[in-house]
Structures are given as structure tokens and as C-alpha cells.
């Protein structure tokens, strides 16, 4: 088949099917493991305890244990336990997770002080937003300066190069000590996690601008200021936009760490809390929600990018 050819574009129909399969295959695998009993199902869900004193209806026990008790009862002539093969509690079936997408929002918090899922999500989005905006507002200009002028490159980059090796979570305790226990230290962690990478990435992107464009601008009489604002900045804008999209992905990964410091909150708190109550369907739903949210934002930004930079079309 010509499906697998080096660097050859697929026909539009095939491409759509393959994209669909990219999501479809993992889901299919999950369905198989969940619904076809002989593939995995290492546990037994008790439907009738029979004579076993400690079995309860709905309880999950290991298969060998169930088999042993079953034999015991048979020998002793007491009531036989009954049960169905089942997966461990931490692997809910697709339909359970699908319902959880709805029920997770309606599950009342266990304690009054705790948050509903939508409140948790909203709190997470706010932390990401502020951390990332703060980082970008300072990081992008610094990166552009470092990428344009050798002076700023020498002044800024060595220190940042050092600082970016310090793991952001290590600053958790410090951030709490300085900024308190609520949202501020979480925003600070997102900031530390993205800012230093951002400066370096933006500086590199700026350096990649075709130097002959700068020379052309000079021969057209452009001074230092207009070189920066009329050539460098518009010239790197599409790449800058792409970098920002990638870095936003980084910010999401720091979210999980950030939300564990100070008072736990947000989607991370929701996930750990639900895991504690063994509501793994809710856990899965929440994790997938983060994925969907991230992907949606990224697709939205990609679409917007095509609108913003029409001169790149056909490239």
C-alpha cells in the first residue's frame, strides 16, 4: 500500500480516517480491556457472598482468593459465593467515565468547604492564565531584546541559562513563605516554570530572523528603533506566536505541581480528592477534561494564528 511512503501527503479522506483512528484505537483498546472478560479482569465482583463471612455484595476480591474460598465452601458444604469477573477499581470502563463527564459536575462536594468541579476547573484556568500572562509580559520583551542586541544577550542569558536548571517545584516552599498559601504562590510556580524557558526560546527565535532583512532595512535608512519595531518584531511575530502556543503547554504541566503547594485547589485537588474516595471514573473524567481543554485552546490559537498572519499562507 502507498499509505506508508516517506514524506508523501495523504489524500484528504484517508487523512481524516487516520486522524480518527489516532483517537479511535486507544479507545478501542480500552473498550476491549473493559468489556471482554477473558482479556484481563483479574478481580471478581461479588454478587452473592454465600457462606463466606467477610464477603459483601459489590466487593472486589482477587480471583485466586475467590477460587480458594469457593473451594472451601464447597468442601464445607456451605452456600457458594457468586461473582462476575471485573477489572480493578482504578480502571473504570469507558461508559462509566463518559457518564462521569456529566456526574462529576453534579457530585456534591463531600464537605461544605470543598469545591464543585466547575469551580475547581475555573480556579485552575485562572492560575494558568495569570502565571502565563505575567511570564509573557516580562519574558517576551526580554527575549526579543536578548535576541536582537548582543549586549542584552550577554547580560540576560547566562543567568537565565543557570536559573532554568533549578526545578520550579523546588521554589514551592519559598513561594508559600513569601506569597502566602492561596493563589499567589501557585501563579508564581507557573511563572518560574515558563518564564526562563520563554526568554531563551524567544531569544533564539529572534536570532533566527533572516539577517539580510535587517541589512535591507539598514540600506533603506532604518535606524536602531525602527529596526526593532518595524523589522524584528513583525518579522518574528508568527514564530513568536507558535513558541507561545508550545510554552502554554508547558504551563499546563506545571499546573499540577503548582496546585499541590499551599492550600491544594483546582483540578489537581479535585483529582486527588476523588482518588481518595475511589471515584476513579471522576478521576479519569477530570484528567481527560484537562486534555480536551488544552487541545481546544491550542486548536483555537492555531486557527487564530492563520487569521493573524495571512502573509504566511502557502508557506
Amino acid at each position: 500500500m502507498s499509505l506508508i511512503a516517506v514524506n508523501k501527503a495523504l489524500p484528504a479522506r484517508t487523512r481524516r480516517w487516520v486522524t480518527l483512528a489516532s483517537f479511535g484505537l486507544p479507545i478501542l483498546l480500552w473498550c476491549l480491556v473493559s468489556y471482554v472478560p477473558f482479556i484481563w479482569h483479574p478481580m471478581v465482583e461479588i454478587t452473592a457472598p454465600g457462606g463466606v463471612s467477610y464477603f459483601r455484595e459489590g466487593m472486589l476480591v482477587d480471583k485466586p482468593l475467590f477460587a480458594r474460598e469457593f473451594e472451601n465452601m464447597a468442601e464445607q458444604g456451605k452456600g457458594l459465593p457468586e461473582g462476575n469477573p471485573a477489572n480493578p477499581v482504578y480502571l473504570p470502563a469507558p461508559h462509566e467515565v463518559a457518564t462521569a463527564f456529566y456526574t462529576a459536575f453534579t457530585t456534591e462536594p463531600a464537605r461544605r468547604s470543598e469545591k464543585w468541579l466547575h469551580e475547581s476547573l475555573w480556579s485552575s484556568i485562572q492560575v494558568i492564565f495569570w502565571g502565563f500572562v505575567l511570564s509573557s509580559v516580562i519574558g517576551i520583551p526580554l527575549g526579543i531584546l536578548a535576541g536582537t542586541y548582543h549586549f542584552f544577550s550577554r547580560l540576560i542569558e547566562p543567568f537565565i541559562e543557570f536559573f532554568r536548571y533549578l526545578p520550579a517545584p523546588a521554589f514551592g516552599a519559598l513561594a508559600v513563605a513569601i506569597l502566602g498559601i492561596y493563589q499567589a504562590p501557585k501563579i508564581a510556580i507557573i511563572f518560574i516554570g515558563t518564564f526562563f524557558q520563554q526568554v531563551l526560546v524567544v531569544a533564539n527565535t529572534t536570532r533566527k530572523l533572516d539577517p539580510s532583512l535587517l541589512e535591507a532595512a539598514q540600506t533603506l535608512g532604518a535606524g536602531n528603533r525602527s529596526m526593532l519595531f518595524r523589522v524584528v518584531v513583525p518579522g518574528i511575530l508568527p514564530d513568536l506566536y507558535r513558541d507561545t502556543r508550545i510554552l502554554l503547554g508547558w504551563a499546563w504541566t506545571y499546573l499540577i505541581v503548582a496546585e499541590l503547594i499551599g492550600t491544594s485547589s483546582g483540578i489537581t485537588w479535585f483529582i486527588t480528592q476523588q482518588a481518595r474516595y475511589k471515584n476513579f471514573d471522576n478521576v479519569f473524567a477530570a484528567i481527560i477534561m484537562i486534555g480536551i481543554l488544552g487541545l481546544t485552546i491550542d486548536l483555537l490559537l492555531a486557527w487564530l494564528g492563520r487569521r493573524l498572519f495571512p502573509w504566511q499562507q502557502g508557506k
Binding site: 533572516d210 539598514q218 535608512g221 518579522g235
Partner: protein, 302 residues
């Protein structure tokens, strides 16, 4: 080229001689004095240009030709002010050149149009830098767009244009600043033969109609002889002036002259200058033996 009996390239008709005499009486537009350029490198300093002295008169068209590594690009970059000479001076109308400026327009081989600006905005760039307000710059740019015949494309972006169109925009962008000198670094090198011929005609047309001195780098002999009043022949390692050839082909030029005796004579002379007959280098040839099977369908065709 076979040695058919050609006149010497030094034979100038009366009209051509007269033109050169008048040309040399014109004031000097660009003067290069004792120019040296040395680049540092890992194996010690490399002399790119040595002892360049040159006077280019107003409205003259000078082409530069030479083998690769003769420093022709370095020379034009120094004239543009994009690079500093190690010693010596470049004077434009008597004023020393130290940095790039709009009075020396430059056209690069790689077009170097700003991809985020439309054709019109590209041409407006230099005008806005020199203090035109937006509407005045727009008006001026429109005139240039009309002149280069791209009125239909004024709002197109560079990546929607063909190579020839891009280079026309680049030329208009440089000319819009009303430079004294137009510096062109192999501007048509990336174009196909047909487009290149067309661009050469456009350029001669522009040069005839506006008051400008052109300094043009090329590696194409035909192009040099066709366009230039005088051809500066450089030699490599180090880059030195080998000869400043006065082209005896009468002006105005037209493509019919490509086969005229003066044209061919000039071409032959320069060909000898840049590719002097050398003894064959033993290490630099292919080691091929006949590799076709003896019983092949088609026997040797040689």
C-alpha cells in the same frame, strides 16, 4: 569559444570613444581609495580585498565580475556600508561612507522583501523612514508600482509573487528613496534565463530614464557585457583589480548586439581574464572507465 577573427576589444568606434570621453568628464559619484579588507580566520588573517582604487562617474553603469572568492560581495557590502574596510576609504560625492544609508540603494540576490508587508507597504518602508507621512508615501509608492507594472499586485504579499516580480519590487523599493547609487549584488542570479533577460531590459530602461549610477555584481559574462559601460574584473586570493574594461558595444544596448563582433570580442577577452588557460590539474578530474556491457543493445555511441 573558438578563435574566429574578432576585432580587439580595445577598438572603439568613434561614437563609443566619444561617449567614454564624455563619461570620464562627468563628476565622480563613487570613489574607492586604497581599499583593503582583511578577515580574521582560524588559519590567520585572510585578505579579501587588496589595494582597490576605483572612480565611478555619475550615471555610469559598472559591472563587477570575477571568480568566486574574489571578494566582489565584500566590495559591494563595503560600498553599502554594511561592512567596514580594514583600511582605505569609500567616498560618495566626496563624503566618506561609514554606515548604510538610503542614498545608496541596495538590491540583494535573495530579494529580501519584508514578507509581512504588501508590495505597496514594502515600497513605502524607506519612504516612511525618511519622514514621508503615510498618505504621501502611499502616493509615491503607487507611482513606483505603476512604473514597474505591478498595479494589480499592490496589495499582494511577497510570497504570492514570482521571482522576477519580487526583484522588481525590490528594485522599486530601493529606488523610491531616490538614491545616488544603486548597488546590486547578483540581483538576477536566482532567476531563470527568460525572466533574467526581461529583467535586464527593465533595468536598462530604468537606468536610461532616471539619474542614477549603477554598481552591479554578476557572474554572468553576457549579462556584464550587455549591461555595463565598464566592467571591473577582479581576481581571487587576494581580491585585486585585474582590469577595468571599457565595453566597446555602442549604447543604447539591445539584445541584437549579443552576437556583434565587439560584444564577442569583449566577452572573449574577459573570459581569458577570469579563466586563464591552466595546465591540467591531475588531482581534479573524474576517474571513469567505460562501464557499458560489451553485448549491450546499443553499441558505443562515441
Amino acid at each position: 569559444m573558438t578563435d574566429v577573427s574578432l576585432p580587439s576589444y580595445l577598438d572603439q568606434s568613434d561614437a563609443v570613444r566619444d561617449r567614454f570621453e564624455r563619461l570620464k568628464k562627468r563628476p565622480v559619484a563613487l570613489e574607492v581609495r586604497d581599499l583593503h579588507k582583511v578577515f580574521p580566520s582560524r588559519n590567520g588573517p585572510v585578505t579579501a580585498l587588496k589595494n582597490i582604487n576605483l572612480n565611478i562617474h555619475k550615471r555610469e553603469f559598472v559591472c563587477v565580475i570575477g571568480p568566486s572568492g574574489c571578494g566582489k560581495s565584500t566590495l559591494i557590502r563595503i560600498l553599502a556600508g554594511l561592512e567596514q574596510p580594514s583600511s582605505g576609504q569609500v567616498l560618495l560625492n566626496g563624503e566618506p561612507v561609514t554606515k548604510p544609508g538610503p542614498e545608496r540603494g541596495m538590491v540583494f540576490q535573495g530579494y529580501t522583501l519584508f514578507p509581512w508587508l504588501s508590495v505597496k507597504e514594502n515600497i513605502m518602508f524607506g519612504l516612511r523612514e525618511s519622514g514621508y507621512d503615510k498618505s504621501a508615501a502611499e502616493q509615491e509608492a503607487r507611482q513606483w508600482i505603476d512604473l514597474i507594472g505591478l498595479a494589480r499586485f499592490e496589495n499582494s504579499y511577497p510570497n504570492q509573487l514570482s521571482g522576477g516580480m519580487k526583484q522588481r519590487v525590490a528594485i522599486a523599493r530601493a529606488l523610491a528613496n531616490r538614491p545616488k547609487v544603486l548597488l546590486m549584488d547578483e540581483p538576477f542570479g536566482a532567476l531563470d534565463a527568460q525572466t533574467r533577460a526581461k529583467m535586464q531590459a527593465y533595468l536598462l530602461e530604468i537606468w536610461k530614464n532616471i539619474d542614477i549610477t549603477v554598481f552591479f555584481i554578476t557572474h554572468d559574462l553576457d549579462e556584464a557585457v550587455y549591461l555595463a559601460d565598464r566592467i571591473l574584473v577582479l581576481k581571487a586570493n587576494p581580491g585585486e583589480i585585474q582590469e577595468l574594461v571599457e565595453v566597446p558595444v555602442p549604447q543604447p544596448r539591445s539584445p541584437d548586439q549579443f552576437l556583434s563582433p565587439e560584444f564577442l570580442a569583449t566577452k572573449q577577452h574577459i573570459e581569458h581574464l577570469i579563466h586563464p588557460p591552466v595546465e591540467e590539474d591531475e588531482s581534479d578530474h573524474l576517474n571513469l572507465v567505460r562501464m557499458v556491457h560489451v553485448n549491450d543493445d546499443v553499441g558505443s555511441v562515441f
